[in-house]
């Protein structure tokens, strides 16, 4: 790693034992600590989004209720969607990227440790910035898709939408930096012998996801720039009176938004592609096919965005193209599912909680995938679009897919992170309450949708006769909420009091299980050489690897310096963006000064202790 200006006096590299104080967490650049902070923060936001969901479900329990005002309701569902996608599902996946990827590829840290810390702090500040307004009733209120013209000042004069486009712009920076960081890490920092086609599937899917991040985020960034200019400087991008086109927003949003779906789901696919072989005692069936299927999903994911727009009126030719592209993407997804089943087939399956969630994903995600095929058919979508059927579909995909996968990863890697197991008893409670809760919440939504209940409505007419489905959903939502409490209790209880775990408690094949649990802050005493896809399942190779990874060092490897510039720069960036709300050009310009200052200070701070 090239570091500039190492002739300045370096910050003293302090103790070999890690500091544990608050300051050490704030200034940390250790990917493992950053991962833990990501996970904790995303879980906190999960409760915020969950509370919003419960309020929504209370309001919808019976027809024609008025417990929550329409104004507040619209903020609640907007923030529920925005929170769950940008502040929960994505960062929770990033938490796993952070913890697991360097360990799986045999690296001591990510390529840019300080940038990694910056990503976290920006995500935190941006998330808080977007979340707080709901307490004052001025939260974003134009749905997570923010369709123009409803977001233009003439129809939305308040500050609500400002919080939205600025908040998302801030969070987007974090994702972009994360994408750059993980691509570089995976390309450049693999252990010797760790060829691309030997990488664990989770690392592979992180790689694909990172490419989706760096290509999709710029598109939404431009859309946000246009929206910001329309709102702050009265430009004409989305203003139809001036020839602007609200449909342009939809194109830009979904060109980002569909890859975003795969940004959410591919990490989960990666997790279970590691979990299933481990607990089946069998290598992943059709490894190269599963890899290529993931890459293919990433590619085709770019060509299907308009299937979110079948009702927009793009004409039959465009509709047909996007129907075909969308149908094609179902094939690699199906291939993955069959490969997972084939991996388990003939295996020796141990149903730990991690494995339960992985199998749960296969079972539940399939339902979401298949309802997706239904509205991939454009004419059918004309009936199902923007109804609760679609709400059911994407919750099956995101909760039953992305979140189940991540929870599987939680139970799988928790022993590595903490050196202790999560309670399997509580874990099974967590799993079954999740299964019951999510199915009871979202399955009835298929029916309320088919019977004509539109989404994003604060109430519905009793005539629709969908009361029973909504009541079931509300009950299910509370059970689902309970499952989240069980999970959290399990984490808190097990963090210090759980059963101690060995270095490789599951008998897993990958490199992260070759080092002590929890790992040293430098991960690997010596970087092992890899000769196969399952280094720990191959007796002779395991000996060699463990000889490198379990050795005691007299002198610890040099690790990057802690730094407070990431947190300061993140604060400066958040402040600079927030000042856009003033709409005064010189205030906005002034806001960039702290950013510049922090960037310079950052650039001239030596990342490593002197002499390295």
């Amino acid at each position: 790693m090239s570091s500039v200006g190492t002739d300045t006096p370096a910050v003293q590299h302090t103790s070999h034992e890690e500091d544990t104080g608050l300051w050490s967490w704030i200034t940390t650049v250790d990917h493992k600590r950053i991962a833990i902070m990501y996970f904790a923060t995303a879980t906190a936001f999960f409760f915020v989004g969950g509370m919003e969901a419960l309020l929504i479900r209370i309001q919808l329990m019976n027809p024609e209720q008025s417990i929550i005002s329409p104004e507040l309701y619209n903020q609640l569902f907007t923030m529920h969607g925005t929170t769950m996608i940008f502040l929960v599902a994505m960062p929770m996946a990033v938490a796993f990227f952070n913890y697991v990827v360097p360990l799986q590829i045999g690296a001591r840290d990510v390529a840019f440790p300080r940038l990694n810390a910056l990503s976290y702090w920006i995500f935190l500040f941006g998330g808080v910035y977007m979340t707080l307004p709901i307490l004052f009733g001025v939260a974003p209120n134009a749905a997570w898709t923010g369709y123009a013209t409803l977001t233009l000042p003439q129809f939305n004069p308040g500050v609500n939408v400002d919080f939205w486009f600025i908040g998302l712009s801030i969070v987007g920076i974090a994702s972009l930096a994360g994408g750059v960081n993980f691509i570089t890490t995976i390309i450049n920092m693999r252990a010797p012998g760790m060829k691309m086609m030997r990488m664990p599937l989770f690392t592979w899917m992180t790689f694909v996801t990172s490419f989706l991040l760096i290509t999709a985020i710029p598109v939404i960034a431009v859309a946000m720039v246009f929206l910001g200019f329309d709102r702050v400087f009265a430009t004409t991008f989305f203003n139809p009176d001036m020839g602007g086109d609200p449909v342009l927003w939809q194109h830009l949003f979904w060109i980002f938004g569909h890859p975003e779906v795969y940004i959410l789901i591919l990490p989960a696919f990666g997790v279970i592609s590691d979990v299933i072989p481990t607990f089946s005692k069998k290598p992943l069936f059709g490894y190269p096919i599963v890899v290529y299927a993931g890459v293919l999903i990433g590619f085709i994911g770019w060509g299907v965005w308009s299937h979110h727009m079948f009702t927009v009126g793009l004409g039959p030719i465009a509709d047909s193209f996007f129907v075909a592209a969308t149908m094609i993407i179902a094939i690699p997804t199906g291939v993955k599912i069959f490969n997972w089943i084939a991996t388990m087939w003939g295996g020796s399956i141990q149903f730990t909680t991690a494995m339960l969630f992985a199998v749960g994903l296969v079972v539940i995600f399939t339902v979401g995938g298949l309802s997706g095929i239904m509205h991939a058919s454009a004419p059918v979508d004309l009936q199902q679009h923007d109804t609760y059927f679609v709400v059911a579909h994407f919750h099956y995909v995101i909760v039953g897919g992305a979140m189940m996968g991540l929870w599987s990863g939680l139970y799988y890697w928790f022993p590595k992170v903490s050196g202790r197991f999560l309670s399997e008893t509580l874990g099974k409670w967590h799993f079954w309450t999740t299964m019951i809760g999510l199915n009871l919440t979202f399955f009835p939504m298929h029916f309320s949708g088919l019977f004509g209940m539109p989404r994003r409505i604060f109430t519905y007419s009793a005539d629709l006769n969908v009361d029973i489905y909504n009541q079931l959903s509300t009950v299910g939502a509370f059970i689902f909420g309970l499952s989240a409490l069980i999970m959290t209790w399990n984490i808190i209880r097990s963090w210090r009091g759980g059963e101690p775990a060995s270095a490789n408690p599951w008998g897993a094949p990958h490199l992260e299980w070759s080092i002590p649990s929890p790992p040293h802050h430098y991960n690997f005493p010596a970087i092992p050489t890899i000769r196969s896809r399952e280094p720990l399942w191959n007796a002779s190779e395991r000996e060699e690897v463990l000889a490198a990874t379990m050795q005691e060092l007299d002198e610890e490897p040099v690790m990057p310096n802690p730094s407070y510039w990431p947190v300061l720069l993140a604060a400066a960036i958040t402040l600079a963006w927030a000042l856009v709300m003033t709409g005064i050009w010189w205030v906005i310009l002034l806001g960039t000064l702290p950013v510049l200052l922090c960037v310079f200070k950052w650039a001239f701070e030596p990342p490593f202790p002197e002499g390295h």
């Binding site: 200006g5 750059v180 760096i214 004409t236 991008f237 059709g286 390295h612």
Partner: protein, 211 residues
């Protein structure tokens, strides 16, 4: 039939292993992290400008009221400013060459030329802006105006950032902080500058030449 054909012996890798330990500069590809990371960032930037350019292409004909592109663009004027920007890339290459040769003064000279040419470009484009505004084309006048100014304005912002970056490099070179071994610092800045140039050529072609 096993699909797994990629298993190979790992013997050759053993030699690399020893070298990897404790070597922050070592990478699998042999290209530094900074450079890989920066190329990734540039890929991202391509999508950013691609979106801006696409929007412009869609919108330029949608203006409800004039002026329309054909009414105002002065291709000759822009050709000159484009040429200036293009040649700044040459200066950038020469600056990097000088840094690699530890030729401090020459390096600073060429970086100053880069900044000067960037400033000339900005000045020429600035005068065009004023002219367009005279013609009635503003950020808010039409979709053509909005998309034109946001696209070219974003590019100019990139030029300005590049100039600030070059100034920082000059300051560092002057204080002997960029020995030839660290020439990559300049190389990456150069990568950025060339990218900004290339994007401008795309913009020049699509916005000014093909109306």
């Amino acid at each position: 039939m096993p699909l797994d054909t990629i298993e190979t012996n790992g013997r050759n890798d053993m030699a690399q292993a020893a070298a990897a330990v404790d070597d922050h500069g070592h990478t699998v590809t042999g290209i530094s992290n900074w450079k890989v990371g920066f190329w990734t960032f540039i890929a991202s930037e391509c999508l950013f400008f691609g979106t801006l350019i696409s929007t412009y292409m869609v919108f330029k004909g949608n203006a409800v009221t004039g002026p329309y592109p054909a009414d105002i663009f002065d291709v000759l004027h822009t050709t000159v400013s484009t040429t200036v920007l293009l040649f700044s890339s040459l200066a950038m290459v020469l600056a990097l060459y000088a840094v690699q040769r530890a030729n401090k003064k020459v390096a600073i000279f060429w970086l100053l030329v880069v900044i000067g040419m960037g400033a000339t470009f900005l000045w020429m484009e600035g005068t065009s802006y004023l002219k367009y505004i005279d013609y009635g084309l503003t950020l808010t006048s039409s979709t053509f105006g909005s998309s034109y100014f946001v696209l070219t304005g974003t590019h100019k912002l990139h030029v300005i950032i590049g100039m600030v970056w070059m100034s920082a490099l000059i300051w560092m070179i002057a204080r002997d902080r960029i020995p030839p071994a660290k020439a990559e610092t300049v190389e990456i800045a150069g990568l950025y500058w060339h990218f900004v140039d290339i994007i401008w050529i795309v913009i020049f072609t699509l916005v000014y030449l093909i109306q």
